[in-house]
Symmetry: C2
Subunit: 499 residues, 2 copies
């Protein structure tokens, strides 16, 4: 990565570049990179952000994948209203307690006061389930599997951050109902696997699949599974997406009953699951560097940017034609390629511009390249340069995109793995926490103990909490004690500070 | 159309069927058909409706088409916040006056009052344009062409109707800025043509392209073009979608300036354009009949429903296999086909069920069909039955779907055309209005005269207004007088009551 000195120089010259370095001031770096990379524009209402096309296209790519996968599972899209009446919102007590402080209320239309204030959905369990109750009568109405792509509003006051914590965000929310717990359990994991694939296969970010503690599970649900990512720079875990089994709690409150084949009455088993535009923020945090965004090829709307590098006395027309031909050849084989033919910008300015935007590969074509019937390819992730014959262009660019995708994942995984620390005692835990580690510790799995850990780690940086108990459990030898309580440990659990 | 007597009988027997006839009580028929057809569920907040998968899939089909078309035009998707501060909302006076009475206001979060009330977008001109001002500096930043798919809220009190007039609805809104009026003018019409295609090619509904009067144009814009549909049963026109040229009014208020190639300052020319889930309501109103929905094949998520018709002593297994094979063959060739294998429902019940849902073709397979290696195909639109050899199944079903699509359009056009009445005098106009016609009249194009027409036609049914001046103008002989004012007529204009 280039040093800060060089960056500032570039900035002075061209107005490009970042004024903060990722390792020096992560928070400011992040705010700057999402704006300068043209993903986000700050909005005049705090905690709300504009998603510019550069970010929106990433969301759409993930959406296309996920939507096709859930359609294969016979989950159907629908759209429920943005608004929910207070009486319905408050029906499931634990649930509403989890969301109540963040609910935005509409109280007026035009100049008139509404008769009753109306809430904006923070999530749609209570919006949807009265109708599940209406639609589900017998076993033939099951399973009921719905999804919607929509906006939700949580009026948080702490630390708004683009993508990561915003007052309005985009997500999908799936809501399903089954006759049996076994079916619900199975779907929870099928969906979680899709979330893993979004992170690992598309965003090139390693995640850990696991189960949330009782304290951290979804308000009103039975159990919560999640994919957990980690941001090495801040030493914080981040919940990537969640797939909840709601059990029968909501079914009870909303009277979602059915008659089975034998004519017996039963209550449905329900799931809900969601991932949001937060995914994009995690991707920026993990891959971005001091030159700007670094986009994995699979989610980049421009995978290859072609820049002509003319010299005074050279065949400019030939160079421009070669650039156009290159874009043409790549586009025809399904690679998203564009050329930057803008006048009045130097090649150097263009390099910086497209580096800031994180385009995975840059192709430069100058007089020498033209003469040799080759192009120069520069990787955004590591700056490596390679000359490619135009004869084997498409094939080699395809390979390179695959390599960059895999390499981003591998690098992120190495960095993440280097942050994982196994501890067995409270002292080791404290030490690892001060080093901003993602801590794997044997735990007794008692809610009181987690509360105690939170209490004992309070401070400026925020308290530690459990992130998840990974499905992939290391061996837990008989007699292993809980790192925090000294009681017999029941499982390995990841702990740390988190977003 | 089957008579009401038969309908009621079916309803008694099976719980299916409609209790209202389209020609007898259109309003009740419509409410019933969208619910029984499983498109809509009424919601506990008035004016808000649940879009069920049967409706949502239609929206998605149109979205896929339109999104691909605007991407070809290099229009990019983005997402701006749901919320807008009052100071920004009120910046363009004419515009805000058009929307102010319908704006929903958030005044509380959790239990706290917000410092300043925040509006929910009724449309996003004022949300977006402060940022257009920021992003557009020079001619190289133009054109700026953005679109978003989102929900908007207009807290209307009059006569909420599913799809047609709801307090929250889904739409796309395009917002573009150009250096010249000529570019803006051109795009207005390109988009309008896409809207025409949505109505005519997908929804099989004839529309008239034209320009809105000064009274009916978009608040704050320069001129508005629209596609206008007509509902024969109610004799009301309905604005199908609008493509506005905003001129430079918003550019002035929001200071959206740029420097051209010569270094001169200029203001941008802007457009905005939108179509909404209203499209689905128009489709239901135009094609639906006394048996339920009638879906054009191009937007039906199930185009062919296959129903086994077993007899006691027949080869039931063979029939079921033939149904499965049929679905398989059709699916493989890209036709959306499903079989209804449910037990405990008679074939007759299934026929009614899928007729209610409007599936374009029903295939019945009974013992005789099996023996003859054929299937019986029944058209939803006209009930026509035809036996098809399984040898040429796919080909013939494809042809039939095309025929049904075209036939729905032709029938709708014949009915619409029969409602168009050319008038030249006020007396003829009054007479045609009382006959619920779509009236084409020569007009002086004066705002005062339109106000006067409204005033003079006030009444229980609602006043008449101008629908549009069609681009396709009949000849207007020299000396033709305005139907309402007697002044010289400037153009032919459609008039009528409207939604």
């Amino acid at each position: 990565m280039a040093g800060g000195g060089k960056k500032k120089e570039v900035k002075k010259e061209t107005g490009l570049g970042l004024s903060f370095r990722k390792d020096d001031n992560f928070g400011e770096w992040y705010s700057e990179v999402v704006v300068n990379g043209e993903m986000i524009e700050y909005y005049d209402i705090s905690g709300c952000y504009i998603l510019r096309p550069w970010a929106m296209s990433i969301w759409e790519t993930m959406q296309t994948f996920f939507d096709a996968e859930i359609k294969k599972m016979r989950i159907k899209n629908c759209y429920f209203p943005l608004f929910v009446s207070s009486s319905v919102l408050e029906k499931e007590k634990d649930h509403v307690e989890g969301f109540a402080p963040e609910v935005a209320w509409v109280t007026k239309s035009g100049k008139s006061d509404l008769e009753i204030p109306i809430a904006i959905r923070p999530t749609s369990e209570t919006v949807m389930y009265p109708y599940f109750s209406k639609w589900i009568r017998g076993h033939r109405d099951l399973p009921l599997k719905l999804n919607q792509w929509c906006n939700v509003v949580r009026w948080e006051f702490s630390n708004p951050t683009p993508f990561i914590r915003s007052r309005e965000f985009l997500w999908q929310e799936g809501h399903t109902a089954f006759a049996t717990k076994a079916e619900a359990d199975e779907e929870v994991l099928q969906i979680l696997e899709l979330y893993r694939r979004i992170y690992e296969e598309f965003l090139a970010i390693p995640v850990i699949k696991g189960k949330k503690s009782e304290m951290e599970k979804f308000a009103g649900g039975l159990y919560t599974t999640s994919v957990e990512a980690f941001i090495p720079n801040t030493g914080r875990g981040i919940q990537g997406a969640t797939s909840h089994c709601l059990g029968q709690n909501f079914a009870k409150m909303f009277e979602i009953n059915f008659e089975n084949e034998k004519g017996e009455k039963g209550m449905v088993w329900q799931n809900s699951w969601a991932y949001s535009t937060r995914t994009i923020g995690v991707m920026v945090m993990v891959h971005g560097d001091d030159k700007g965004l670094v986009l994995p090829p699979k989610i980049a709307s421009v995978q290859v940017i072609v820049v002509p590098v003319p010299y005074k006395d050279a065949d400019t027309r030939g160079i421009f034609d070669a650039c156009a031909d290159t874009v043409d050849a790549l586009s025809k084989s399904g690679i998203c390629a564009e050329a930057d033919f803008r006048e009045n910008y130097s090649p150097g300015w263009k390099y910086s511009h497209w580096e800031m935007k994180g385009v995975p590969l840059r192709i430069e074509i100058g007089p020498k390249d033209l003469a040799n019937n080759q192009v120069r390819v520069v990787r955004r992730d590591n700056g490596a340069k390679v000359d490619i014959s135009r004869v084997s262009l498409v094939e080699q660019v395809k390979d390179l995109l695959d390599i960059v995708q895999q390499s981003l994942f591998n690098t992120a995984k190495e960095k993440r793995d280097a942050c994982v620390q196994v501890v067995k005692t409270w002292d080791e835990f404290k030490e690892a926490l001060s080093q901003r580690k993602m801590i794997l510790a044997p735990w007794c799995d008692e809610e009181e103990v987690e509360k105690d850990v939170k209490e004992r780690t309070k401070g400026e940086m925020g308290a530690a909490k459990s992130l998840c108990s990974p499905f992939d459990q290391p061996e837990l030898p008989e007699g292993t004690k809980c790192f925090a309580s000294g009681k017999p440990a029941k499982k390995w659990t990841y702990w740390g500070r988190s977003y």
